[in-house]
Amino acid sequence: MKRTNELIVGLAVMAAIIVFTWGIFAVGENMTPGVTPFSQDVYHLHNVVLGIVTVIGVLVFTAMFTSIVIHRKSKGYQAAKFTHSTKAEIIWTAIPVLILVVMAVPATRVLIDMESTGGAEMNVKVTGYQWLWQYEYIEEGISFFSALDRDSNRARQIGSGIDPRTVENYLLEVDNRLVLPTNTRIRFLLTADDVIHSWWVPALGWKRDAIPGMVNEAWTYIEEEGIYRGQCAELCGADHGFMPIVVEAVSPEAFEAWVAEQRGDLAVNDSEGAEDAVEVVEVADEEQEQVQPLAAAEFAELSQG
């Protein structure tokens, strides 16, 4: 009886330790530091807070297990009689308050930083649909839809017979990526057409809800070129799991080139060198009408697989 108990306990503790350490070290899939100043702030904040709560946990559990090991009836330990200690209670009220303050100060600082949305150099309007995204570059007058990539879509059907592991970036690839310049202060204007969605790219450090009838603001400043992937993060119906986001961050020069290419491609009727902003916006409106049914048809086709 005694022996079996100890065996079970030993196995349990071992299993727990294996899972925890393997999780933390071997695979190392912790939070991403991301590629913006804000995402790095968040990452550090996360590490600080995680560190603090881990220490709290270790201290509390150590006290508890010390007691469990020593103060046992089976060891003949006699119970003490005390029932309270005002001093102890004041201490363990005050210390947590201090710890909380230590966490709240950096949290407040980072949050205030994050929420100052002024000074945007470009604006991107993001609209969520069931189940794809629309991106409109307000100044550049570019607009397009971005839906789950064909390969992923084919593989994700029940009984498709395709092993997702053979699909590159399974569920995290789109047909049209959101191309953004690095080192530019970009403001996002998020809204939705039908139900609430949420735009989340972990490398940018935040997610924000896209709410029908309302516009939410958020901003980013990407410091490194690269491809950053994310997903819709608010349950939005059957295909909520299948509306990924892909951001392609390129140098400002490459971005300019991309913009020019897009305009050339899309605004076929546009006279060359139309610098007039008003005209650009008009063109943008036109494009929107052109692009929308096109992408919608494509999407319909896609979702039939």
Partner: protein
């Protein structure tokens, strides 16, 4: 029965009857809102069972009460029960008042471009200006007019406040064992309640027919009809409760010391009164 013993009935068959009634009622209601043809019938049948349950249950309680089975502790339990029930009703109304305040203080101004709503207004609802009353930027439900507070609603306020007074007069009469006066003031209260409901009904008809104000009139119509509607349902319930009490008074069920049934209904009525006052101020006046 010995004084100081707590009454615990051996069995209770009415609760399960009531449950079945509610179940049928809910199935009916759910079918009804989905335009199922049987919905109203199920709803009616369920309601009938629930009403039957109420009569049966209260008859048992009245019989036990008359039989002297209840001591002061049972009485105190009933009081606790009623107080907390009314508190739960307050919280139910709080949800709707919360919606009203949120719309007026936050969502409508945001849609009009205030505070964090600047881009909402500019991109989605250009030209919409925040104002109250409103049916929203999409002008849902078409043009409408509101019911001015200082007309019939003010009269209704007076009526309900008066009914609160007449009910108190009835209570005093009860405490002085003046049964005639008691019954008189009770019926006066019920009468005022009925007049209130009548005026409210008239107003609804007027709103729908002449003012274009409906449940579909955006957030104003939604909050207006939900708040006044649920209030109206509560007045109706309160009036029915008072009617039952009045009948019991006629039959002489209450003594000047022992009349919890009366008091419970009176509390309920006062609660409905207070809700109306809040309604009058926040829905009609401000």
């Amino acid at each position: 029965m010995a004084q100081g013993s707590y009454f615990v009935p051996a069995t209770a068959k009415w609760p399960i009857v009531g449950t079945v009634g509610m179940f049928i009622m809910m199935i009916g209601a759910a079918n009804w809102v989905n335009n199922g043809p049987t919905g109203p019938w199920f709803f009616a049948a369920g309601s009938a069972i629930v009403i039957l349950m109420c009569f049966g249950w209260f008859a048992d309680v009245i019989r036990e009460s008359q039989g002297g089975l209840y001591n002061s502790a049972v009485d105190a339990s009933f009081r606790q029960g009623m107080i907390w029930f009314i508190f739960s009703e307050v919280m139910f109304f709080a949800a709707f008042f919360g919606a009203l305040f949120y719309a007026r203080v936050l969502s409508v101004p945001w849609l009009g471009g205030a505070g964090t709503g600047a881009m909402t207004n500019e991109l989605l609802w250009p030209g919409f200006e925040a104002a109250w009353p409103t049916h929203g930027p999409a002008e849902l439900g078409g043009a409408f007019q509101t019911i001015p507070g200082f007309g019939l609603p003010l009269l209704n306020t007076m009526i309900l406040l008066t009914s609160g007074i007449t009910l108190t007069l009835a209570h005093w009469a009860l405490k002085r064992s003046q049964r005639g006066l008691l019954v008189f003031w009770l019926f006066a209260t019920i009468g005022l309640g009925v007049v209130f409901l009548f005026i409210q009904g008239y107003e609804y008809v007027h709103a729908y027919r002449d003012l274009g104000l409906t449940l579909g009139s955006g957030i104003y119509g939604s909050t207006f009809f939900m708040l006044t509607g649920f209030h109206g349902i509560h007045v109706t319930l309160g009036a029915i409760m008072l009617l039952v009490i009045a009948i019991r008074c006629v039959r002489g069920h209450f003594t000047k010391k022992n009349h919890f049934g009366f008091e419970a209904c009176a509390w309920y009525w006062h609660f409905v009164d207070v809700v109306w006052l809040a309604l009058f101020i926040f829905v009609y006046v401000i």
